[in-house]
């Protein structure tokens, strides 16, 4: 039995039945990381000591005959934009290269309370800005299925770690597709929860009206177990919602599934479309009713997204000034310290987005860009609201194509932005959505995106876990 192939539930059973110890399990993962990660580059930090210490505690508990929880002793990876106390947290940026997290993010606190084993911190695009991890200051994460391709982004390190059996599950963050896209490219399950259902306290901010933390797992059930653990109201995050995961048993028979015609249009790779349609057909055969729906403002989504997100980011990233923490360059004046630290610490994409955001918010351009984009965001939100009056879920592709080549889009920022075509609008409307592995083109996995109404993660998960067995 290869321990690193097990799901959360299988690990739990193995630990309870004493088929293996938690230390042995953890060592099996650490061995995989040592052997594979030089090439893949999923991890920025491996927290071996912390992992073994946590594993030993779990073994002691089992030895003493104590009961263990469903996540207890399960080895996981954490995106390096989420703080784990006493460990480096870089957001894959030079400006935070030596930053050590002073406290645990609420999601980490919750996972630690459940006794998880933390294997390390995973690679991301710098400050989670990107769709390929090529914007990481510490090198790209290669796709475990084809190492000439990207793993997707920004949570590419988390996706690759799970796909290559270097973690049982991982946490990612999603601002415009950053959980679902790498999940699709790497062939794992990734859930972007409803805005507010998971606390962001201790998560490095990118765009605050978009950012969400979510699970990246080997299957749908695992995603559910992780979501159940990390969700809920947190007094340290005013935007967190009073949300508790409640199990749903959604019958495929009679379920109404909407296919947005704008998402099955020009630009969609034929083979990706075929994979999506064959899964949709299976749902139909199981009794679901498939209807075509319209999201007429979809064409504005990317423009709208790439005005609002950089605007929020330009404000959020003002805190990196070389004074309070992070990289600090010497300068003659206070302003000089700010400018020199930021110039040296930020990479090209981060600078580009700060510039775009500052431009859109600047006097004279605010109405034409930021204010207009806020209005369009409202239209996009209304589009989805209208569709959810008629259907229970929306099915569509995650991305227009499978994983692309390393370097293919790296020099063309606009081409990279368009990767978010089917994932960005969901975030403008603050909806939950899951990427379910649905097939492969050659070696490359392709995901199907399942979008639900606000706080309907349970319906998404119920339906996805039924479909998972049919694919």
């Amino acid at each position: 039995m290869d321990l690193t192939e097990l799901t959360i539930k299988q690990i739990h059973e193995g630990l309870v039945n004493k088929s293996f110890s938690c230390v042995d399990l953890t060592k099996a993962y650490l061995k995989n990381i040592k052997e594979k990660d030089k090439e893949i580059n999923a991890y920025l930090t491996v927290t071996e000591d912390l992992a073994l210490e946590q594993a030993k505690k779990v073994d002691d508990k089992i030895k003493q005959g104590q009961e263990i929880g469903p996540l207890e002793g399960v080895p996981c990876a954490i995106k390096d934009a989420i703080m784990v106390e006493g460990q480096k947290c870089t957001a894959a940026s030079k400006i935070l290269e030596n930053y050590v997290a002073p406290y645990d993010a609420t999601v980490i606190k919750k996972l630690k309370e459940q006794g998880v084993v933390i294997l390390g911190k995973t690679n991301t695009d710098e400050f989670t800005m990107g769709a390929s991890t090529e914007n990481s200051a510490f090198g790209v994460t290669k796709n475990p299925h084809d190492k000439t391709k990207v793993s997707g982004g920004s949570s590419g390190g988390s996706a690759a770690a799970v796909a290559a059996n270097m973690a049982c599950f991982a946490l990612g963050t999603d601002t415009g597709g950053s959980i679902r896209l790498p999940a699709s490219f790497c062939g794992i399950t990734g859930l972007n929860p409803t805005y507010g259902s998971v606390s962001r306290y201790g998560v490095i901010a990118h765009a605050s009206s978009f950012d969400q933390v979510g699970p990246m797992t080997k299957n749908v059930e695992d995603a559910k177990i992780v979501l159940e653990t990390i969700c809920g109201k947190d007094k340290m995050d005013a935007t967190s919602a009073d949300y508790k995961y409640e199990e749903a048993k959604t019958d495929l028979k009679g379920l109404k599934i909407g296919l947005p015609k704008e998402y099955f249009a020009e630009g969609l790779d034929k083979e990706v479309e075929q994979i999506a349609r064959s899964t949709i057909k299976k749902a139909e055969e199981a009794g679901a009713k498939i209807v075509e729906v319209e999201l007429p403002n979809s064409k504005y989504a990317i423009a709208c997204y790439y005005i609002l997100v950089p605007s929020e980011a330009s404000a959020n990233l003002a805190r990196y000034d070389g004074i309070k923490y992070g990289l600090s360059e010497n300068g003659e004046s206070l302003l000089d310290v700010y400018i020199k630290s930021r110039e040296k610490g930020f990479g090209p994409e981060v600078k580009r987005r700060i510039m775009v955001g500052t431009y859109c918010l600047s006097s004279g351009y605010y109405d034409a860009y930021y204010k207009k984009a806020q209005e369009v965001r409202q239209l996009i939100r209304q589009d989805f609201a209208k569709v959810f009056e008629k259907v229970d879920l929306i099915f569509c592709p995650v991305a227009p194509f499978p994983a692309f080549g390393i370097g293919e889009k790296a020099d063309d920022p606009l081409a990279m932005y368009l990767v978010d075509l089917y994932t960005g609008a969901v975030k403008l409307a603050q909806l939950p959505a899951l990427s379910l592995p649905a097939g492969k083109i050659g070696k490359l996995p392709v995901g199907l995106q399942i979008i639900g109404n606000h706080f309907k993660e349970n319906v998404i998960i119920s339906v996805a876990s039924q479909l998972e067995k049919m694919i």
């Binding site: 930053y99 790439y306 000034d321 992070g326 110039e343 510039m355 239209l379």
Partner: protein, 92 residues
């Protein structure tokens, strides 16, 4: 094409200092991105003012929420300090 001066002005507002090469690339990239944003001019006007957030989240009362006792840990991250104070360059 967005002018060099305009890029320098935005960089100044952004507290960034760009090299000549970066300015050139930024002119090209920002022009392409801003041209793409023109698409929004065709979008209809929203029927009502943008809402804040989704239902279950909301604003909290304007009260202090204690960030537990991590003042020392936070201070220890400052690159330059004296006792319990963060040091900055003279500004006057």
């Amino acid at each position: 094409m967005i002018s060099k001066e305009e890029i320098q002005h935005i960089a100044k507002l952004s507290r960034l200092e760009l090299t000549e090469k970066e300015i050139e690339k930024m002119q090209k990239d920002l022009s392409a991105i801003l041209d793409y944003f023109d698409l929004l001019k065709k979008a209809p006007s929203a029927a009502k003012a943008p809402e804040g957030q989704v239902k279950k989240s909301g604003l909290r009362k304007d009260e202090v929420v204690s960030s537990h006792d991590i003042a020392d840990e936070l201070l220890s991250q400052a690159p330059d300090k004296k006792d319990d104070y963060i040091k900055v360059k003279t500004i006057l």
